[in-house]
Every structure is written in structure tokens, then in C-alpha cells.
């Protein structure tokens, strides 16, 4: 379709050129999706986060639905690095699509050594999921603070030559500041964002609906919030911002790109419409054709902010 329509869908993310800006969000993608879509159509593969330690994941129930989204506390069940390299990676070798490996570790050193170990042929980029607890700093997620983000990113940067994407948490008060810290420490891109910490209580049992008590909200409900964070981050950094949060349709992807995203990740939408990613790719192309936009990359940061009177300093945080 691209060839026929002459719309250039490719985007460039810190040295890596993707055939289009659409890829899965970590933890919502696996080989099974091959039965639903042609893997050679995706912009990239992004794996479920892996850790060095073997982990069982969280107690059940692991998901609960809410209007417009779901809360999950899967945890990171992980079978470790050798299993990943020997059993998971070969599935993706058959395709002409770059493989982005999502990693996590409880310490900055752990991140760096895992990134080094995974900097092997077949891996196109590392996505550091730093929304996980930093056991060296009272268990707060690395991405909650600029300092810890800077530290872990710097160590990661020295550990790998691969493009380095740093995935931020939306749960902090100043995401753009954290994005700047990642940029300053050498990240090639930031992924904005992960799920938003949430809770649900069952009114029959009075117990939390999730085995883990709290979990992360994803899906359409969070889109306006994360879109705002992408807009703020794209103003704060020069490196590409990859938008992730509630993207279900091509319109959502376009809104994110206008706000400043160079590419988008699709998570929860795939659970409802397993072919969501390819539908979005088709929709992006159709939109560009209709608007006579030769390259989808022209949409990036395309939002038009008119010079206006100073807005009223509202009861909510002002325009930044």
C-alpha cells in the first residue's frame, strides 16, 4: 500500500529508521500475534520486559477492568537471559523488523550489565524500563526522579552501543524534567509513558481487585494525560519522544504525533482488537493521503499553538 500511495511512513528514532512509527508496547506483545498480523508490517518489535533474575510475577488476580481501561499488576514474570536469547529471540529472526528488547533491573549496575549482555546481533535497540523500583533508593522507581534517571541512563550509555530508549513513568510530578535527565545522560529516545498507578476495590469482598493491591492503568482512559506529558516532553528535549498510552486508533496516533511523538507504541488496544497496530498503520497512511502530507514524519510536533493572551493562571497547573 505504501508503495502504491507514495506516502513515506518511515520515521527515524535516534539513528534507527523504522518502516513506520507503529510498534507494540512492552508486555502486550508476543509471538502469538503472528497468527493475527503480518509481523513484517510493524515498525518494530518490543519485547516484554526481561530481567536477569527468574521471577514468578504477581499474585492473581492480575487484571481488573474499569470503564475505558484496565488495571494490571502482572509483574515481570521472567525466565532470565539465556531463555530469552535461546527461545524467544529466534522467533523474531525470521522477520525484517527491528527487535527492541525491554529490560529491567533493581539497580543501575544491574541495568548496565543486562544491556551489555543483550547487545548482540539480532537486537536493534534497548528499551530501559526504568519505571521499576530502584532498590538502592528506598524502592522508588528510577523514573520518579531526575537524579536516579540520569544515573541509570549514564551507566546504560557506557554499557551499550545500541540505540538506547528510556521508558519513563507517568507517575511523577515532572516528567519533562526526568526526560531532560535521560537526554543529558545519553538516551537516544524517551518512551512516554508507562501505566498510571491505580487501584480498584471489590464491593462484595471489600478486598482490592488485584492480588498486588495496586496496579497500572492503561487504555483510552489515560490518553489525555499521557498526551499532555508527550507534549511537555517534546518541548523539553531534542531527542525523539515515543508516545505510549491509550492509543487505539490512527486518530490517537496522529494526535500523539502532533503533540510531539516521533513514533507510538500500542498496548491495551491489542487486547481488544488484536490487529489494532496494522489498522493504525493503514489509517496513518490514509490520513496522510487525504491531507496530502507526503511523509508521516511531517506530522511530528505539528500542533499549532497560536500566540494568545497570557492564559488565566487557573486552579490547575498553568500552561508550561
Amino acid at each position: 500500500m505504501s508503495a502504491a500511495s507514495n506516502v513515506d511512513l518511515s520515521v527515524s528514532i535516534g539513528g534507527l529508521t523504522l518502516r513506520n512509527p507503529v510498534m507494540p508496547a512492552s508486555g502486550t506483545f508476543a509471538e502469538g500475534l503472528e497468527k493475527v498480523m503480518d509481523f513484517n508490517r510493524l515498525g518494530a518489535f518490543v519485547t516484554k520486559t526481561i530481567t536477569r533474575e527468574l521471577r514468578a510475577g504477581n499474585p492473581l488476580p492480575r487484571v481488573v477492568e474499569r470503564p475505558g481501561g484496565l488495571i494490571n499488576a502482572i509483574g515481570i514474570p521472567s525466565k532470565g537471559v539465556p531463555y530469552f536469547i535461546e527461545t524467544i529471540m529466534p522467533h523474531y529472526a525470521a522477520y525484517d523488523t527491528p527487535l527492541v528488547v525491554s529490560i529491567s533491573a533493581p539497580t543501575a549496575e544491574g541495568f548496565a550489565s543486562l544491556a551489555a549482555e543483550l547487545s548482540i546481533p539480532g537486537v536493534a535497540a534497548i528499551e530501559a524500563n526504568i519505571s521499576c523500583p530502584n532498590i538502592e533508593e528506598d524502592g522508588k522507581a528510577f523514573a520518579m526522579r531526575a537524579e536516579s534517571t540520569q544515573k541509570v541512563t549514564r551507566l546504560l550509555r557506557t554499557a551499550t552501543e545500541l540505540p538506547l530508549w528510556v521508558k519513563l513513568t507517568p507517575n511523577t510530578g515532572d516528567v519533562p524534567e526526568v526526560a531532560r535527565a535521560a537526554e543529558a545522560a545519553g538516551a537516544d529516545a524517551v518512551v512516554v509513558a508507562n501505566t498510571i498507578l491505580s487501584m480498584a476495590i471489590d464491593l462484595k469482598s471489600f478486598k482490592p481487585c488485584l492480588g498486588n493491591i495496586m496496579g497500572g492503568l492503561s487504555g483510552p482512559a489515560i490518553k489525555p494525560i499521557v498526551l499532555r506529558q508527550v507534549f511537555q516532553c517534546a518541548k523539553a528535549v531534542k531527542i525523539p519522544v515515543i508516545g505510549c498510552g491509550g492509543i487505539s486508533t490512527a486518530d490517537d496516533a496522529i494526535e500523539y504525533m502532533l503533540a510531539g511523538a516521533s513514533a507510538v507504541q500500542v498496548g491495551t488496544a491489542t487486547f481488544l482488537q488484536p490487529a489494532a497496530m496494522t489498522t493504525i498503520i493503514d489509517g496513518l497512511e490514509a490520513f496522510c493521503l487525504r491531507r496530502e502530507t507526503p511523509r508521516v514524519a511531517d506530522l511530528i510536533r505539528g500542533v499549532i499553538i497560536e500566540e494568545a493572551d497570557e492564559p488565566d493562571l487557573a486552579w490547575l497547573d498553568p500552561v508550561s
Partner: protein, 293 residues
């Protein structure tokens, strides 16, 4: 194994093979589809269960016993079921391109299903998961089910008959009027033994007595079960004692239904080791002896 049931295993074949096919050069084709099926019928079969029949694609109508679909339920008034709901295949007709479901109105999703009228569209996704496997050597099989588990076992009746096996079904329910798909089993020349709480025949001791008699009569080459962990344990005990094979269809809450999210895991005992498996992808049908309640 019959050709028909082979397909079930093709759908659930090891992932490496599926991925490998990308190299073959043949144009890629979806084997799991989400489609807008057309509702043909959606009627109460008793106070609790509804029978839903939809027109669907060839791929969906090729679903095998024990497989399931993920249904995107309509919103009932005031509720917004967000996730798809897994529903076992209750019947599939490849010629008429139809699939059937049997569901109990429970919460938001099934209340949404209950609003469907003939002609309405329903987004169904499937067929999903690993179904039952029938060994051509089995002459007599025994299906033990309770509750919605009967829906899952129902398509076995037809498949077993096509495979030349005789089926005895032991069905458990709260009351006789809540038993479902007895007719369907009779239609496929299965024997049905009904046990109910109200008649006090459904206790594990009585079911065990029934099963022992079937084994003694040479009428049980394999167990198939769904819907009751109490009855599953009875069968596990007997199967171990007598050395019989068995399969169980498990349930677990699901989000994606296709192996992506790991929310549907259960523990299994594989040769003494506890392993974690995804019900949607590694199952929902598992080896009876490996299942943990």
C-alpha cells in the same frame, strides 16, 4: 487422531513452527481473526443459560472442541465491560459457517450478550487455544462436567462420534432444570447420567461410584472434564489408580486471550515440578494429571 482434531492442534501448534512459516515466501494469512459475526439466535435455554448462534467466517467455523473465542460484549445499560470475554465453543458448523456459545448471565459482559437480537453484530475473535485431543484408539470416553463446563464439553459429543467413540456424559447441576445440553448429547447418541444437588446425587462419593462402574464396564478409555475442581480431583485419583489418560479444560480470567499478557496463568504439576502456564495459549485444555485445582 482424526483429521478434524488435527486441525485443533494445528491452531495450537508450537509457536516456532508458526513463526518459521514467515520464511516460506507464501503470502501471510491470519489464522486468528476478529470479525463482526451476525447473530442468528440468542435465546434462553433455562433460567440461567442462553444459547447464542452466529454466522461467521470459515476460519472461525473451523473451531475445534475445547477451543474458545473472545467476545467483545455489547454494553448493557449503565455498564461498560472493557475486556473481551472468553467463551468456549459450544458448537461449530463449518458448512453453515456458524459457531455456537452457551453462556450464563453473570456480570457486565454476559448481561451485554443478553441484549443481542437476531441480525445484530457481535465482534468475535478466534478460534483460540488448544482444544481436546481424541486418540483414535479410544472406543469409550467419559465426559464429566458441571455448570458452564457442560458448554465446553458439548462439542466433544459430536467429535467423538465422528471419531467412532462412544461417549458417556456425567452431568452435574444444582437442579435438574438447570442441566443443559443433555439433548445435544443424546442427539449424538451419548449416554447421559445426570446428578444434581437437589436430588443429593452430585456428591463426589456418588460420582466416584458412577465412574468406577463405567471403568469396570470397560466404558472409560479416557476422562474429559470441565467446570468442577472437586470432580476433577475424583477423576485424577481414579485415573492415577487405574492408569487412564484424561484432559481437563481450565478457566482463568483473561485479558488478551492470545498469550500476550500473562494474566491467565495457573500452576501445573509437570513431573513434580510446579510450572506456570497461560490458560489461553498453552490451554485451555491440559493433561488431567498435570492440572492443579
Amino acid at each position: 487422531m482424526s483429521i478434524q482434531l488435527d486441525q485443533a492442534h494445528t491452531t495450537a501448534m508450537p509457536i516456532a513452527t508458526a513463526a518459521g512459516s514467515a520464511c516460506s515466501g507464501a503470502p501471510w494469512k491470519a489464522s486468528i481473526v476478529a470479525e463482526l459475526a451476525e447473530v442468528v439466535r440468542n435465546e434462553a435455554v433455562n433460567a440461567e443459560y442462553r444459547h447464542l448462534v452466529v454466522n461467521c467466517s470459515e476460519e472461525a467455523a473451523a473451531a475445534q472442541p475445547g477451543q474458545f473465542f473472545q467476545l467483545l460484549c455489547p454494553q448493557p445499560a449503565g455498564e461498560q465491560p472493557f475486556l473481551r470475554r472468553p467463551m468456549s465453543l459450544y458448537g461449530a458448523d463449518p458448512d453453515r459457517r456458524q459457531v455456537e456459545f452457551l453462556y450464563k448471565v453473570t456480570g457486565a459482559g454476559t448481561r451485554g450478550l443478553d441484549t443481542l437480537k437476531p441480525g445484530d453484530r457481535l465482534d468475535i475473535m478466534g478460534p483460540l487455544g488448544v482444544g481436546f485431543a481424541l486418540d483414535p484408539g479410544w472406543r469409550h470416553i467419559v465426559a464429566v462436567g458441571r455448570g458452564a463446563g457442560l458448554a465446553t464439553l458439548a462439542p466433544l459429543a459430536r467429535a467423538a462420534r465422528a471419531n467412532g467413540a462412544q461417549v458417556t456424559a456425567v452431568f452435574s447441576a444444582r437442579r435438574p432444570d438447570l442441566l443443559v445440553s443433555v439433548d445435544l448429547f443424546h442427539r449424538h447418541r451419548a449416554d447421559v447420567i445426570a446428578v444434581t444437588d437437589s436430588e443429593q446425587t452430585s456428591g463426589p462419593a456418588n460420582v466416584e461410584r458412577i465412574l468406577r462402574r463405567l471403568i469396570a464396564d470397560g466404558r472409560c478409555d479416557a476422562f474429559f472434564t470441565c467446570g468442577s475442581s472437586r470432580l476433577m480431583r475424583v477423576q485424577q485419583r481414579l485415573a492415577r489408580e487405574v492408569g487412564l489418560p484424561g484432559q481437563v479444560a481450565m478457566e482463568q480470567q483473561m485479558a488478551c486471550g492470545i498469550g500476550l499478557c500473562y494474566c491467565c496463568v495457573r500452576d501445573f504439576n509437570v513431573n513434580g515440578e510446579i510450572v506456570n502456564r497461560r490458560v489461553c495459549w498453552d490451554g485451555p485444555v491440559f493433561d488431567l494429571m498435570e492440572a492443579l485445582p
